[in-house]
């Protein structure tokens, strides 16, 4: 038998007490050959995670297998005894989940969790498993590999934890790995780092893998074979080249269309004249903010420094940067959730009070916050009509019938049926909940909406629909947006201006097309080149660039003096960049860059990459480069 895994006619359903069961997976066939990576792709609800868990003979609570077979080296996992199933899981088939942070037990050391399954299944003694784990930590290029296992999960970074989870899966040398969206929740830079480590380790270990994702660009980098799923059925399958370059099925073509083309200038729609008023809606002046007690205008932990930016009426400003750069903190300061230590927030000609409690009702109404997770932001015990009706009553003094009419109007505005008013959030899909989340902010009739990663948890088709909705809302109501995200492609297609934050400082800002075309700030350049392209071999090409290797291997550190990007910057000037705060200069009207290099130098470097390596080698010792670039 040449196939490692044979899935035939797999059916999984959700039984209902009243009425027929809901079919989740409707007869799926596919194979995984030894040493091959098979990607299951599709949007949420396509059944891709459910199918992948099937290879571990596991279903989420509330689901059950109702037909077909899943044969691992000829043994049908669906008919196994409980003891055989335990021996299958973690030993023959290993699972990697989307969020390593939630998957590691906070109360146990990393090493105990990594080695647990191999020792329990009797494959190795504890000592052998420990040695194997350290070997994997080396292979996964984790820092301090000999001792990282003694730490607790909260003591390592998200990207490291994601790779440690790979070690946990690989320690018992399983025949098959199941990777469930393992990079979706990560920053672009971290995603590359993790993808590279996964790919290397899968190749070295020679194990086969099922890779579940909705991101086609990622699939193009890691998969050998692709299975396209929609609503629990296979639409199309074939080699990665067939699907990526010669898709046949209309659904696959649609997926490709929704997939991100890399961020480029000229992707966005131009503003409609009606709302292009070029007057400032909100202005942030010389603002410094952070957490802890403020003494002499300095917080205990400074996060944001010298922030100067503005959002014009009817404009969309995209705020980008990796996690830990202060994007959400900036929105919290503007919303009044965190008073600034220095500087002013100016709106419609007057300075706003630092803390929301001291702001007038009118000011509160003008600024509305939209949270990332609709699941946690919406009260599960309230009807949609209450969730949206509250701000309508509070800010527009409408109650009774008038309130209900307004709620209906707002629901129509976010393109949801009016009947949804009588439902609870749990009865809606992820995308619908996000629309309610937006509708609640909209109900206050704000002038500006602060959207914190509102599309990050959604898959590409749902996310692009939410962005379309935001555009429509802007055209209809003239509301401004501050759109915080780590997804550059969405910003490129949606924003009018971009603010690039790094370690609490604005390193570059300006009109979207200016920021996305050279000269780039070195950090903007790193972000843009980290966005995966839907092209086979992109990952390898990118990692060959040594300046990418170093930018990716290091994380965000907030520094008090100098340019915080110094230790990741390929063109850093030793002796200057780490000591002196970078000057800010205006390249074109409204386009600012903060860098010790002038625009001409940056452009020269852009054209002549040799120079990049030259400066870069000065900044980083050679042996370190060798390790990173390997």
């Amino acid at each position: 038998m040449s196939e490692l895994l044979e899935v035939r006619g797999l059916r999984i359903e959700a039984p209902k007490k009243d009425g027929p069961a809901i079919q989740i997976v409707k007869g799926v066939d596919f194979d995984v050959k030894a040493g091959e990576v098979v990607a299951l792709i599709g949007e949420s609800g396509s059944g891709k995670t459910t199918i992948s868990l099937g290879s571990l003979a596991y279903t989420k609570p509330g689901l059950e297998f109702s037909g077909g077979s899943i044969k691992l080296k000829g043994d049908d996992v669906l008919t196994m005894e409980p003891s055989e199933v335990r021996n299958l899981r973690g030993n023959r088939v290993a699972y990697l989940a989307q969020s390593a942070a939630a998957t590691f037990n906070p109360a146990l050391t990393i090493n105990e969790q990594v080695t647990e399954s191999a020792v329990l299944h009797g494959i190795m003694t504890q000592d052998e498993a420990d040695a194997r784990a350290v070997e994997l930590y080396h292979a996964l290029e984790l820092p301090d590999p000999d001792r990282i296992g003694f730490r607790y999960p909260h003591q390592v970074s998200g990207g490291q934890l994601q790779r440690l989870m790979a070690a946990m899966a690989l320690v018992g040398r399983p025949d098959l790995l199941v990777l469930d969206e393992p990079t979706t929740a990560l920053d672009v830079t971290t995603q590359i780092e993790v993808l590279k480590a996964f790919k290397k380790v899968i190749r070295e270990e020679g194990s086969a893998a099922i890779y579940v994702t909705h991101d086609l660009a990622v699939v193009a980098q890691v998969a050998d074979h692709i299975v396209v799923l929609y609503s629990g059925e296979v639409q199309e399958q074939g080699s990665v080249d067939q699907i990526i370059n010669h898709a046949k099925h209309p659904y696959t073509k649609r997926l490709m269309a929704a997939a991100h083309a890399g961020p480029k200038p000229g992707m966005g729609d131009k503003l409609t004249d009606k709302h292009d008023q070029d007057t400032d809606n909100i202005q942030v002046k010389n603002m410094t903010a952070g957490y802890g007690e403020i003494v002499d205008g300095k917080p205990a932990i400074t996060v944001l420094r010298d922030i100067n930016m503005s959002v014009k009426n009817g404009h969309v400003v995209g705020v980008i940067g990796e996690s830990g750069c202060g994007k959400s903190t900036l929105a919290r300061v503007i919303a009044g959730l965190l008073p600034p230590a220095q500087g002013d927030i100016i709106m419609d000609g007057h300075t706003l009070k630092g803390l929301y409690k001291n702001r007038s009702k009118k000011d509160l109404q003008k600024i509305q916050f939209v949270y990332q997770m609709a699941d946690t932001a919406l009260n599960p015990k309230q009807l949609i009509s209450e969730i949206i009706g509250r701000p309508v009553e509070m800010f527009q003094n409408l109650s009774g019938q008038k309130n209900r009419e307004k709620v209906a109007e707002i629901l129509r505005l976010v393109e949801l049926p009016v009947e949804f008013a009588e439902r609870y959030p749990s009865e809606l899909s992820g995308g619908q909940k996000q629309r309610i989340n937006l509708a609640r902010s909209l109900a206050a009739m704000p002038e500006i909406m602060l959207c914190d990663e509102v599309t990050s948890a959604l898959d590409s088709i749902v996310a692009s629909n939410v962005v379309k909705l935001l555009k429509r809302l802007r055209d209809l109501t003239g509301v401004s947006f501050m759109f915080i995200t780590h997804d550059l492609s969405t910003v490129a297609a949606f924003a009018d201006e971009i603010v690039v934050l790094y370690a609490g400082r604005i390193v570059e800002q300006g009109p979207v097309d200016e920021v996305l075309s050279p000269p780039f700030h070195p950090y903007t350049r790193l972000l843009i080149s980290s966005v995966p392209e839907m092209r086979i071999g992109w990952l390898e090409e990118t990692m060959k660039k040594r300046e990418m290797a170093v930018g990716i291997a290091r994380g965000v550190e907030i520094t008090d003096v100098g340019c915080p990007f110094y230790n990741r910057c390929p063109i850093a000037i030793s002796g200057t960049c780490e000591r002196v705060t970078a000057p800010t200069y205006e390249l074109k009207p409204g386009h600012f860059i903060s860098c010790h290099h002038d625009a001409k130098t940056i452009l020269d470097i852009e054209r002549n990459p040799q120079q990049v390596l030259h400066g870069f080698e000065k900044a980083i010792p050679d042996e370190k480069i060798a390790i990173i670039a390997e």
């Binding site: 596991y58 899981r89 998957t103 109360a107 146990l108 329990l120 607790y152 909260h154």
Partner: protein
């Protein structure tokens, strides 16, 4: 982490001080004149005044408080207003009895409840879980005096196995003491265990919904090991809190059980003190009870801190 522990102890001391003020002021504003009660109806105003002067009752309240607090801190609990014996000697034996009762109950009930709670969590919705859930729910709903009276009816009146009155004295042998106090012990074990079993079960089942538990299932770990090794450690915080509150109840809240079995414990002594308007005795007992609460809660907080690796091992 050391700082957090020291902070907890400091907060505990402040709480104790606030409690001392409340206890002192509270007992002082109670109606009734100690001198009048002690000297009786026939006392003349002169003898009353003399009594007050001798006992410092004529001084301003804050002076009385300072003297009293000073005594408390140095271990001098004062002289009983009724009978004139030193309060330390009155409390001494009773304190030992209460500690014996609380200690034995704790030693039996804490491991018992945690184990039963674990078992209920390991086999949810099976007959074991149903029996435990039904039993604990029923026992929580039934007041302790009912359980106590019921026990007397069965074991003392009908079966005649155990004495209805828990009469213990220092000369008794260990076996005699245990036999004499068997019924209050069993009653208390039932009362405190029910709540601890339920909290252990709920705490663990709550953790069982976490993604890291699903991960351990997918690693092929047995359910029993998942509960003991993965879930229990994360549920310790809430469990320890309930245990601490129940232990504190054993010291102070057992008045009814002590009264029914005529068990010579501290809570009963305090009730007697209230009846005789023996304020120094009431104050001393109140301080001991509050001290027990504060100490147990500090201990449970420290245990919760120690069981949390985030607090134990900062980044």
């Amino acid at each position: 982490m050391q700082r957090m522990v020291i902070q907890r102890i400091f907060i505990g001391l402040v709480t104790l001080w606030v409690v001392s003020v409340l206890v002192f002021v509270g007992t002082s504003v109670l109606p009734g004149d100690v001198a009048q009660i002690v000297m009786g109806q026939s006392a003349t105003p002169e003898t009353l005044a003399a009594y007050r002067a001798a006992n410092g009752l004529d001084q301003p309240l804050y002076m009385q408080y300072a003297t009293w607090l000073g005594g408390m801190v140095t271990g001098d609990l004062g002289i009983s207003k009724a009978g004139g014996a030193s309060i330390s000697s009155l409390i001494g034996g009773r304190f030992g009895n209460t500690m014996f009762l609380a200690g034995v109950v704790a030693i039996i009930s804490v491991p018992l409840s945690v184990i039963l709670g674990l078992i209920a969590a390991m086999y949810p919705a099976t007959w074991i879980d149903r029996v435990l859930t039904f039993g604990t729910l029923s026992l929580i709903s039934v007041p302790d005096f009912f359980i106590a009276t019921f026990m007397v009816l069965i074991f003392a009146v009908n079966l005649g196995w155990l004495p209805a009155i828990a009469h213990i004295s220092p000369e008794d042998t260990m076996m005699e003491t245990i036999r004499a106090s068997a019924m209050p012990l069993i009653t208390l074990i039932i009362v405190v265990s029910a709540q601890m079993i339920r909290m252990t079960r709920a705490g663990i089942l709550n953790v069982m919904n976490s993604p890291y538990i699903e991960m351990s299932i997918l690693k092929g770990v047995r359910r029993n090991r998942i509960i003991v090794r993965h879930a229990f450690l994360n549920a310790i915080g809430p469990i320890v809190n309930v245990v601490a509150l129940n232990l504190a109840y054993l010291v102070s809240g057992v008045v009814i059980v002590e009264t029914i079995f005529a068990y010579p414990g501290l809570a009963k002594l305090m009730i007697d003190g209230v009846q005789t308007r023996d304020l120094p005795l009431v104050q001393a007992c109140a301080m001991i009870f509050c001290g027990t609460y504060v100490i147990l809660i500090i201990l449970s907080d420290v245990a919760a801190i120690l069981s949390n690796p985030r607090l134990r091992n900062p980044k």
